[in-house]
Chain length 498, copies 2
């Protein structure tokens, strides 16, 4: 079935394709052995290539699709641009009924922002950094050689950064009915009046909210009992409540049984708590997780082990089962985030080229779901800590009690900070509220510095800010230190010195 | 001249006055000597009283005007509520032409928020904490006694937290023409069509922007060559440009020579760079600094030295020239901020009641001007560091290069972090951009923890966030560590291991 609402020709923006696959592009000729061959020009690959080249390494970078990878083309960049437009529409329309949002201009803005940022990731820029950029298909010949469309490149070390792509659930009729994923949704040129989103994880929630704000009637279908089920349950509930409040139709505990086209609409038959129901929409968007993109790369020839779900198997130093080949990013890491790939790539430069021993397990990786309100997390969840035998005390501050939030009519959301019981060691934190993604880094810095919550309480914050909520968790912690014995001593002293 | 636009009777909100001066209020009877008598129920006094009482001290709190002080009644709380409304109007109206903002409802919202937050500062709440609350006028009799409208209270220690109030510049005719200050402006019931603001400091800039957004034509008059002249000049310029872009009429290097009422308007005659000009408006708002409120308190009787400009003189431990009396907050500190008074009061509890030695000079006090964009600062400015003989390197990241800002169309603003040259010690930072006041606390935490910029670069931040700009300053710092010698060594190694 064709997709009349998609940009002609397909998911990608012509400007982008021309930018990264210039018609006059000339493949470089391999010049002897490379210190580092990087496969994939998404965040992980770009950081590895630029970093290694900057240190003087001879580097080849191979990309078969679009420079910039998922983050630039299908992920963070277009989705945040869309969310920003959607937020404007939403906050504007709370005030008065303006004209309906112009979807075409929203999407044009998104593509223009993407094109602007793409310059930073372009083949030309990387060639300027001294990197040999090959636009083509990489296949390992062995643990020292890779083929790119007929050319053979020799390397001392290689890094696979081939990324991931949307997983398609096994729903009978779905492929025939036709569906969008994060790779194609940003190519839409017409706003679907009705949109059904399959998957209530971060991507599903963000896009559901954006399209609902822009004027679609969205049905969000999730197979668990609540959205964002990997997050703190109370924080996820705040986001879920916000989506419901916006008018999104939520179907939880949903088992999508079959998809079909009926009267020009795409219909899903779903078994949920309340029995069987049909959901019909103009477009289906599948956001049901992502799978490592590792096929047809000659992994077997190089002795690189992988499995379909986890992707390329790496040790704690990002090394694959072939000692000359490393992997970073979505193709091998459980944390499929741009910033995780970025820092993994920095570690791999040290490990692969300079004998470093940087460990994946030492990276403290935060994350954020960019719904409104945002939901951000860093470190351990209490259940993870308890599983390691660490007892947890949680300190919580609700934004409804934070003066700045009150002046901005924010009544939902909170900061929770988890501390190892008996020791003032911050284990992790969850924040749900406006700009939680920015606020979380203050906690990350405290954790990296080994600063406890008691000491954090003494760091003066400007009044009135949202960040005060973090410091106020510290005040709560300090109050717990006033034990009955200490309190008796103070009272005695104050009586004696009255 | 009367002020028809003001809430009947005066600046204050009736609900507030009734809340804090209940008609059935019964003054407590003094019960022997107090550990601590606190004069003034603004932030400094409330924190001192609540904190001391919480530790078991016998505490009296004396307030002659409104519980909550400037912050709650005339400062942060109403101004941030007004700014939040103004921002909504501004961002909404960029999209389409809605109905004109309803000033009445904006001001009602502000008063309602103020009343909500006031519960936290109310006399009843403090009575519940075990504090003897006296609503009346405090005058010291000596260094051990204070009189409250005829009652004599004995104390071991006292804290003066009497605050500050708007300074009125010496302009002939100004008093007769009638003017608003931050104490009266929130009592307005009608939006002035034309508003002239005297003073381009934080309060002047915030209120000028708010009223311009709400529909007034604002003229902002400042006696220096640029607004916010105590701040980083480039950061102040970003705010200044935003205000001009909004249509505010700016008069710089202005010397206001005389004020007069002419044809029903309040007119100022101003000498500026371009000669003499007249500015006429419906209301004048004076925001030309604040002066300590220290008159008629019996300071001489207690031997407490003070001067009109600096206020009560205190040593580094917040002790006045009378050894039993301390002072905190706007009545004695150069940093007239709620959060500064808060932390000074915490220090004074320790110093006054428990022989602590907490020093004012050790407090790292950040601040923020809540314009759009916000301008926040912490630590030293380069000129201050250089004056102390410390050489400074500054690392800067512009938001136009930060992906999240790009997706939100933010093209102005930046993060600047100042580091001691040759040592990785963060001295201070300035941030101008959206929610800068929240972002600055990440830097404050790093400073308090002694974390350098090189290490901050290794703290993973979620992508894409504004806070990444802080980490990216760290990347720049780390690049400076790749000296030519180190670089040659790396290149040699990479050549040998190719």
């Amino acid at each position: 079935m064709n997709h009349p609402g998609l940009l002609e020709g397909n998911p990608h923006d012509r400007r982008l394709i021309e930018r990264v696959h210039p018609t006059d592009w000339v493949q470089p000729e391999p010049r002897g052995r490379y210190n580092l061959v990087v496969i994939g020009a998404g965040t992980g690959g770009l950081v590895a290539a630029a970093g290694a080249a900057g240190l003087g390494a001879k580097v080849a970078l191979i990309e078969r699709n679009l420079m910039g990878g998922d983050c630039l083309n299908y992920g963070c960049v277009p989705s945040k641009a869309l969310l920003a437009s959607a937020r404007r529409v939403r906050t504007g329309s709370q005030r008065n009924d303006g004209p309906p949002p112009d979807f075409q201009s929203v999407m044009n803005r998104l593509r223009s922002i993407r094109a602007d940022i793409s310059a930073h990731d372009s083949a030309d820029r990387f060639r300027g950094l001294g990197v040999d950029v090959y636009l083509g298909h990489a296949r390992f010949l062995d643990g020292r050689h890779v083929d790119v469309d007929g050319r053979t490149l020799g390397f001392r070390k290689a890094v696979i950064a081939s990324g991931a792509r949307p997983a398609a659930p096994e729903i009978p009729g779905l492929r025939e009915a036709g569906f969008l994923t994060s790779e194609t949704v940003f190519g839409l040129t017409r706003l679907p009046a009705r949109l059904a989103v399959i998957g209530g994880g971060p991507i599903g929630c963000e896009l559901a909210q954006a399209f609902q704000s822009l004027g679609s009637q969205v049905t969000l279908i999730h197979n668990k009992s609540h959205l964002l089920d990997r997050e703190d349950a109370e924080a996820a509930a705040v986001v879920q409540q916000a989506l419901i409040g916006q008018g999104i139709d939520l179907v939880l505990n949903a088992d999508v049984q079959v998809a079909a086209v009926r009267d020009g609409a795409r219909c899903l038959t779903i078994r949920a708590n309340d029995g069987i129901r049909d959901v019909c929409a103009d477009e289906l968007l599948v956001a049901a997780g992502r799978r490592p993109a590792i096929e047809d790369m000659g992994l077997e020839q190089a002795g690189v082990a992988a499995d379909e779900r986890r992707g390329i198997l790496v040790d704690d130093h990002f090394r694959t089962t072939c000692s000359s080949i490393y992997a970073v990013g979505d193709c091998c890491m459980p944390f499929k985030f741009t910033h995780a790939a970025d820092f993994a790539a920095r570690a791999v430069i040290q490990n692969a080229l300079f004998g470093g021993r940087k460990k994946q397990s030492r990276l403290t990786i935060p994350w954020c779901t960019y719904t409104d309100p945002e939901l951000a997390h860093v470190g351990l969840q209490p259940r993870e800590a308890e599983a390691r035998g660490i007892h947890v005390d949680t300190y919580r501050r609700d934004f409804k009690d934070v003066d700045r939030a009150v002046t901005e009519d924010i009544v939902d959301g909170f900061v929770k900070i988890h501390v190892e019981r008996g020791k003032d060691r911050i284990l992790g934190a969850t924040i749900v509220g406006p700009r939680a993604g920015d606020l979380i880094s203050e906690v990350s810095v405290a954790m990296a510095a080994g600063m406890g919550l008691g000491r954090l309480a003494q760091v003066i914050h400007p009044y009135p800010t949202f960040a005060e909520a973090i410091r106020q968790c510290g005040d709560q912690y300090n109050r717990t230190r006033l034990t009955p014995a200490v309190s008796r001593l103070f009272r005695l002293w104050l009586k004696l010195t009255r």
